[in-house]
Amino acid sequence: MNAHSKPDLRELSYAEAIREAMDIALTNDPSVILMGEDIGVYGGAFQVTGDLVDKHGTDRVMDTPISELGGAGVAVGAALTGLKPIFEFQFSDFAALAMEQIVNQAAKVRYMLGGSVSVPLVMRFPAGSGTGAAAQHSQSIEAWLGHVPGLKVVQPSTPEDAKGLLLAALEDPDPVMIFEHKILYKMKGHVPEGHYTTPIGKAAIRRDGKDVSIVATSLMVHKAMQAAEQLEADGIDAEVIDLRTVRPMDRDTVLSSVRKTGRMICVYEGVKTLGVGAEISAMVAESDAFDYLDAPIIRLGGAECPIPYNPELEKAAVPQMPDILAAARDVVKGRV
């Protein structure tokens, strides 16, 4: 799946890559701490922190009470006073409980105090559907937070980027929200050793193509890659862009791709309306790349409903590979 995976290179799962990033950070930088519900002895809701508490101790890998608002408030305060907390939510859906701290405090304090302070806070959000966890544990809410100036929002789609973006987030003086797709935690891929960073705000072209730009986020990048492979048989050469960062969005990469292909499909798991794809589409429509569009822009996003519990309906509620395949064929063959 990962363009970088080669058998002779070291492979880690996405979850292991995140754990390794946190381990490196804890080791290299005494100001880094981990916070979250059940991240200590239990190892985290998705076993991402694992045994880090054994290595770094409970002073630096802290279980927080079952109050997202309280935990997040402590994390913002810690960040304001010199620490670099990495705060884990059990499910990204629970960000709703901590919105005051994220949106009104973390994102705004720097601005409201004239730049005299910053909030070097990293928040990790297990996100997305596909686990049968239903409406309150399956959402993709990156667009909520992407709407807030003062936050940075990233969505790594590979183990390599999961590690690189986390380490980059720790170097960022401002709050960075990392949305990790639960389905990706077990995905394996090459992960470089040691410390490195993946730039925030920079998309990755996962596959070069000339006929249509498929701009995807998170898990959808992999579905887009599968679709692109099948499209090859139709003689359609799709370019797949992994957006990686929702805010700030990599305008240049998207626009130059559209100038090349003249067609664009946005694929994202969040609800289609008012989502990430709307922003990508508008960005193209407002730019000089507009003049290169040779077909309507297509958005494939989540259905306009809470994620259903029924596994078939759950699948139907988010874009799947055949949807991308059909949309790409339509848009390239001039059927829409």
């Binding site: 003249g262 569009l293 077909a295 001039g334």
Partner: protein, 439 residues
């Protein structure tokens, strides 16, 4: 809501176009895509298709000059109530013109003064021609950009996308079509009478106009407004414009065909205006029909000496794409900037019929073998006694202007500095005034 029919932009530097003729009467219906009206610009004439199916109402009068992107008529749906004209016609220069009077939109005053620059026209609003067509052209941004860059009239393109949307593919295919060299054409001669087109309106002695080699009746457009007080009758030479592609073995055969057309008009009197080869034909016609000719105006006429730029004639006849036609077209004029790439493309579009090119090549071979004028009308010029004048550009690179100096003293000479073979295009205002004074 009636569908607005707009003046399309068919040429890169076109600010307005003239409604030449409607293909249907007011109140008649037209299918979308059928030819609806003919337009003329400074440089070209073109058929415009109906943007929608409907019944024609509030059509701009023939001869009206309308800025691009502005309404020339409205198409009503079957049964739709026809009320007031939804908006007055926009006039060149800005003010809205009332509908009924054709002369209003283009008065004689708008003809440029001799020696002055043509009156500045309002800047075209480029997006209008493309955007103001909600019911008309459906095209992707990429197709519009390509069409804009390449000087292609979007309205002329068949769209292969959903609901007829023009896509970049369609523009590229179209350009490819223009660029595809056709196989060496074999000339398939046709038969039939020559095509004659007439202006609407005008009184008094009609003016019969005969265009030059490799041209057609639309080439008179730049000076027509100056002389439209007379009925204008334009003859398309054989193998040119809409005339049949007759086999013409020599100059006498050519004159015979034109004379037959002229006789068929059954005119008591006519003013003759001819350009280049058409000038030679007009002179020959005057020589044999002198009693019917009121005056003779020859613009850079052929037939007054052996020299001719055979290379240019050959080049124009053989060109199969705008890129190869353009340079030869530029040799026709002194100011090459008159011949834009868009102009060349339109000119090539008018020459896209391989049989037309083959017919003209055969005619060139008959009339100008080895690059020499194989006919001599100097004696005829000496004989004719009707009021005659010769207009010539002193930078003519096709026929030497010095041929004019052989004219007898009673023939007036108008020689233009810095003008090439196309005075009626290059100094249209002056040529129009000179002709008008005579007619």
């Amino acid at each position: 809501m009636p569908v607005e029919v707009i003046m399309p932009k068919v040429d890169m530097d076109m600010a307005s176009g003239k409604v030449m003729s409607w293909h249907i009467e007011i109140g008649q219906s037209v299918e979308k895509g059928e030819p609806l009206f003919d337009i003329e610009t400074d440089k070209a004439a073109m058929e415009v298709e109906a943007p929608a199916t409907g019944i024609l109402h509030h059509a701009a009068p023939e001869g009206a000059e309308i800025p691009i992107g502005k309404a020339v008529a409205w198409l009503y749906a079957e049964g739709e109530e026809v009320g007031e004209q939804p908006a007055p016609f926009a006039a060149v220069g800005g003010d809205a013109a009332p509908a009924p009077e054709p002369a209003e939109a283009l008065s004689d005053d708008s003809a440029p003064e001799p020696g002055s620059e043509p009156e500045p026209r309002p800047e075209p609003e480029p997006e209008l021609a493309y955007a103001g067509d909600a019911e008309g052209i459906r095209a992707t941004p990429a197709a519009r950009r390509l069409a804009r860059e390449e000087g292609v009239a979007l309205a002329e393109l068949p769209g292969t996308g959903p609901r007829g949307r023009v896509q970049a593919f369609d523009v590229r295919e179209y350009l490819k079509g223009l660029a595809t060299p056709s196989a060496p054409a074999t000339f398939r001669p046709e038969t039939g009478p020559l095509h004659i087109s007439r202006s609407k309106g005008g009184t008094g002695t009609p003016v019969v106009m005969i265009h030059g080699f490799a041209s057609d009746a639309t080439s008179w457009a730049p000076i027509e407004s100056a002389i439209k007080h007379r009925p204008l009758i334009r003859i398309d030479l054989p193998g040119h414009g809409k005339s049949p592609k007759l086999r013409i073995r020599d100059f006498a055969a050519l004159v015979k065909e034109v004379r037959a057309a002229f006789d068929g008009l059954q005119l008591d009197q006519a003013h003759l205006v001819g350009h280049s080869l058409g000038g030679a034909v007009a002179l020959a016609l005057a020589d044999t029909r002198e009693r019917k000719v009121s005056s003779l105006s020859l613009i850079a006429p052929a037939g007054l000496g052996p020299q001719v730029n055979g290379e240019a004639l050959n080049g124009i006849c053989k060109a199969t794409r705008a890129e190869s036609l353009g340079p030869w077209l530029r040799s026709l004029v002194a100011d090459e900037s008159l011949i834009t790439d868009g102009y060349a493309r339109l000119a090539m579009q008018a020459r896209s019929d391989a049989n037309l090119r083959a017919a003209q090549l055969a005619m060139a071979d008959a009339l100008f073998p080895d690059g020499v004028q194989a006919f001599d009308l100097r004696a005829a010029l000496g004989r004719i006694e009707v009021p005659a004048r010769i207009l010539w550009g002193k930078s003519d690179a096709i026929l030497p202007w010095s041929h004019a100096l052989q004219a007898p003293g009673r023939v007036a000479l108008h020689l233009f500095d810095g003008v090439g073979h196309m005075p009626q295009l290059e100094v249209a205002g002056e040529v129009g005034k000179i002709l008008r004074a005579q007619l």
